[in-house]
């Protein structure tokens, strides 16, 4: 919000940044406003276009000049914290990563995530996600002599993808299991399949969360539609590299117990080998 100087504002600033890049266009945004219990409306706002602006810039302009109480979460404005999730023209996306010039001409509709209870305007209550995370047993290494570990870069490279998750919960929002059906309490959701996979594939972890993920985690509800992968701003292959490997492990164990025992006996390394895709 620092950067979007506004020439018409009644600010006393006189040195408007010459590089501010007004495009001369006017954008129309239809932004959802409302609180739980009210019907809520889509409010129309007009915002001057600026080169390279993202939807969050437009929201900030509105807050500053047109509607000071419009609520929206954001922190980094760099697509790194996962705070500013919303639905732009019906599609779950980060407000700070969606460039206005990449959207089709015409009004831009901005609404809160649909899979979560509304707090106000663009802000929803995502606390369920934090509860799920608590249910997943944390990283648990074996007791050892305490010396620095040796780990292969190959194992780290594989984990890096899962660890890129910024917890924007866009995948949780788009997943039909959590969204359309009332299964949200029975399925951890794609974000937490990624979380479980990152723990299961960690070469130093000793726990086994596969049965839990299937039972309490409701992994079976996922029918691999890949919608989650499509919206992930970090380009994590949620289905291919997290959900499918977890499902395969479960299937192996229950349909091919010998293979499973064989893998377990191989110790640490087998956890890595199993997860690799």
């Amino acid at each position: 919000m620092t950067e979007m100087e506004n020439p018409t504002a009644t600010s006393t600033s006189d040195d408007l940044d010459p590089a501010q890049g007004l495009t001369g266009e006017t954008l129309t945004l239809h932004v959802f406003k409302g609180e739980p219990g009210e019907t809520g409306t889509e409010q129309a706002y007009e915002v001057p276009g600026v080169t390279g602006m993202v939807v969050l810039d437009a929201i900030h302009y509105i807050q500053r000049n047109l509607d000071t109480d419009l609520a929206c979460r954001w922190n980094c404005k760099a697509a790194k914290c996962g705070s500013c999730s919303a639905e732009i023209n019906g599609k779950p996306a980060l407000l700070c990563k969606t460039r206005v010039d990449e959207l089709p001409a015409g009004p831009i509709t901005v609404r809160p995530l649909k899979a979560f209870p509304l707090v106000k305007d663009l802000v929803t209550d995502v606390s369920r996600n934090f509860e799920v995370n608590k249910e997943i047993p944390p990283f648990t290494p074996a007791k050892d002599d305490g010396k620095p570990w040796r780990v292969a870069q190959r194992d780290i490279s594989r984990l890096r993808e899962h660890r890129m998750c910024i917890e924007c919960f866009l995948c949780q929002d788009v997943c039909h299991v959590l969204r359309d059906h009332d299964h949200s309490k029975r399925f951890y959701g794609p974000r937490f399949m990624v979380r479980v996979a990152s723990l299961e594939m960690h070469p130093k972890d000793t726990l086994d969360r596969i049965d839990l993920t299937r039972k309490a985690g409701g992994m079976g509800y996922c029918n691999i539609t890949k919608c989650c992968t499509e919206v992930c701003p970090e380009h994590i292959h949620i289905t291919d590299n997290a959900i499918i490997p977890l499902k395969e492990r479960y299937a192996d164990r229950h349909w091919d117990p010998l293979r499973w025992v064989g893998r377990k006996l191989k110790g640490d390394g087998s956890k890595q080998a199993e997860g690799s895709k």
Binding site: T2, E3, T12, E35, G52, D69, N75, Q153, R163
Partner: protein
């Protein structure tokens, strides 16, 4: 008459849930204290996620010559010798354990060929010292701490709370009051001890890599409770913020780009760091690189949008760049439509980090107010006049832990006070609710626009280069803006009303801005990040002083606190740095200072 409010009680209250807050909370809970963490944002969103380069720790995995003493030396020299040397000493030793601890909590680091933690070179570090995972080390750190935190028994987390006042019982801090952002209800928290871990403050400047949270709440809370704020004049300009398009101006471009070999060029195509620091070049300390870019631009050799060119494309191939700097690739690709594997980036100085902060005791992170602790960016002293990259992620782990342990001890031996002052709570509620009143005040001010004007005043007059004249102008501007802010009124209700929150945040930003300006006025010299046009050189007398800002009734006073000088054995260590230069040693260290660097260059 009080509005209803919710009361919580805990042994240790931790304010802020970035790396420092979470590490403090884990330490306090492990010491057996009931611990409550409150954060302004959702868990895992704190500014720690933005840190890209890595954690500096002298593991010596790539350069066997490295050790904690060299890390100590680099940090002291980078800080221009006004750091709290005992903090640096503790830091350089302890951070090694903290890195290995993080790994045992499930954090991942890139590896060497033989499977040890990988380390990369970074500005003003003598050896390859930054432990990292790609360019997302901050995210890795915060997620690891977050998972540790939520699975640590005895810790409770309340998200999206803003605390506005510390409560005191006599001299001692006994809790805090504030409001829940999501419904505007008031809360009171009774605590045996309070740890501030609220991070830094960049939001009073126009070009900043900081999020909206960086309004200096923690430092303002501490100041209002009577604590000292130290070294407030030292604000770090990161040399490489994005310049274009306008919406991302100030957004960070990690130093890892230069660590990986990135070259800075001016509009003539010249590698201009040759002219400013031919020894360290692009990896010179941040203040030097930032000023060099500033000077190139002023000399008319800037890039189209007023910065310099940072080129990695001609140094490495696309595959290498995408693997080492994946987030930078993505950031430029998505936000600026620039492919950094093909073209140079446009970069310029952006407010990045606050070296100064709440004055603390090195070993315990205790502030000057009993029961109050501070750790991480909100605390001052470790970094002196300029912070080295990689020393902040280490800072939050090392001192977060120290603060948690010390706060737990204090809480256990002093207990939780049961009584909180109803008058204070009523006062705070009244002042908060006034912003929503339609009480006929004229002319009503829009808090956002007051904020914009504060940013302009600070950027222009208390920014990268300062003078008595510009700072005086800034001070006057702050005074006028304060009057305007008192007339800020907003519509809407108490449920998640960002305009209302901005009104309150401004109060903190004024305190911090005034502290910065007054401290900068007092330091009549140039040192590290403090660049005075009217005093271009260092002053030896001022090299032995830290300025502390203290509340004095309704006014603010600046006091010079004599610096605790390093003992001779610590001065000797300085020569372990590759950047040691005996000729630049101040006279008061010259007796103990070795004649040459032991490291060679």
């Amino acid at each position: 008459m009080n509005e209803p409010y919710t009361t919580h009680e805990c042994d240790v209250l931790v304010v802020g849930a970035g790396g420092a807050g979470m590490r403090a909370a884990v330490a306090a809970a492990e010491a057996g204290c009931s611990t409550l963490v409150v954060s302004k944002s959702l868990l895992g969103k704190a500014h720690t996620v933005m840190a890209e380069g890595g954690v500096s720790a002298a593991l010596g995995n790539l350069d066997g010559e490295d050790d904690w003493e060299t890390h100590f030396a680099d940090t002291m020299l980078g800080g221009q010798l006004v750091n709290n040397w005992r903090m640096v000493d503790l830091y350089a030793r302890d951070v090694i354990d903290r890195v290995y601890e993080l790994e045992r909590w499930g954090g991942i680091f890139d590896r060497t060929d033989d499977g040890r933690i990988m380390q990369r070179p970074f500005g003003a570090h003598s050896w390859k010292r930054l432990c990292y995972v790609g360019d997302r080390t901050g995210l890795e750190l915060i997620r690891t701490c977050q998972d540790k935190l939520v699975h640590t028994p005895g810790v409770d987390v309340h998200m999206e709370y803003t605390l506005t006042r510390l409560l005191k019982d006599g001299d001692r801090v006994c809790g805090a009051i504030g409001y829940r952002r999501n419904d505007g209800r008031f809360v009171a928290i009774k605590a045996g001890a309070v740890v501030l871990a609220t991070g830094g403050w960049g939001r009073m400047f126009r070009h900043t890599s900081n999020s909206w949270e960086g309004t200096g709440d923690g430092a303002a809370l501490a100041y209002n409770a009577g604590a000292d704020l130290l070294d407030m004049e030292f604000m770090q300009f990161h040399p490489t913020g994005m310049m274009w398009p306008p919406g991302v101006r100030g957004l960070l471009v990690t130093e890892a780009v230069r660590g990986e070999g990135g070259i800075l060029k001016n509009s003539d195509g010249r590698r201009f760091m040759l002219d400013y620091d031919a020894k360290k070049m692009e990896l010179s300390s941040r203040d030097v690189v930032a000023r060099s870019i500033y000077k190139e631009v002023k000399a008319g050799r800037g890039s189209p949008h007023g910065g310099a060119f940072l080129d990695i494309a001609s140094v490495h191939d696309a595959v290498y760049i995408k693997s080492k700097l994946p987030s930078m690739y993505e950031q430029f690709h998505a936000l600026a439509a620039v492919d950094i594997t093909q073209e140079p980036m446009e970069v310029g100085p952006t407010i990045h980090y606050t070296m100064g902060g709440v004055r603390v005791e090195a070993e315990t992170a205790a502030t000057t107010v009993p029961g109050l602790y501070a750790a991480g960016e909100v605390a001052g002293g470790l970094h002196g006049a300029n912070r080295l990259g990689g020393n902040s992620l280490g800072d939050i782990l090392v001192f977060g832990r120290c603060a948690g342990i010390a706060a737990a001890e204090f809480a256990k031996s002093n207990g939780v006070r049961r009584n909180v002052s109803e008058t204070e709570i009523a006062e705070e509620q009244r002042s908060m609710l006034a912003y929503l009143d339609d009480d006929g005040v004229k002319p009503v001010e829009n808090p956002y626009l007051v904020h914009v004007d504060l940013q302009k005043a600070m950027q222009d007059d208390a920014g990268i280069g300062r003078s008595e004249e510009s700072l005086t102008r800034a001070l006057n501007a702050i005074g006028e803006l304060r009057l305007r802010a008192a007339r800020a009124r907003v519509g809407g209700g108490r449920v998640l009303n960002p305009g209302w929150h901005t009104c309150r945040d401004l109060e903190n930003m004024f305190v911090i801005s005034e502290a910065i300006v007054r401290s900068a006025l007092s330091r009549r010299e140039s040192r590290g990040s403090q660049w005075r046009f009217d005093f271009e050189n260092k002053d030896e007398t001022l090299g032995q002083v830290n300025f502390a800002v203290r509340r004095d009734g309704e006014g603010m006073k600046v006091v010079g606190v004599p610096l605790e000088l390093m003992p001779p054995e610590a001065v000797k260590r300085l020569a372990k740095s590759r950047f040691y230069d005996a000729a630049t040693m101040p006279s008061y260290y010259r007796d103990a200072a070795p004649a040459t660097s032991e490291a060679g260059a």
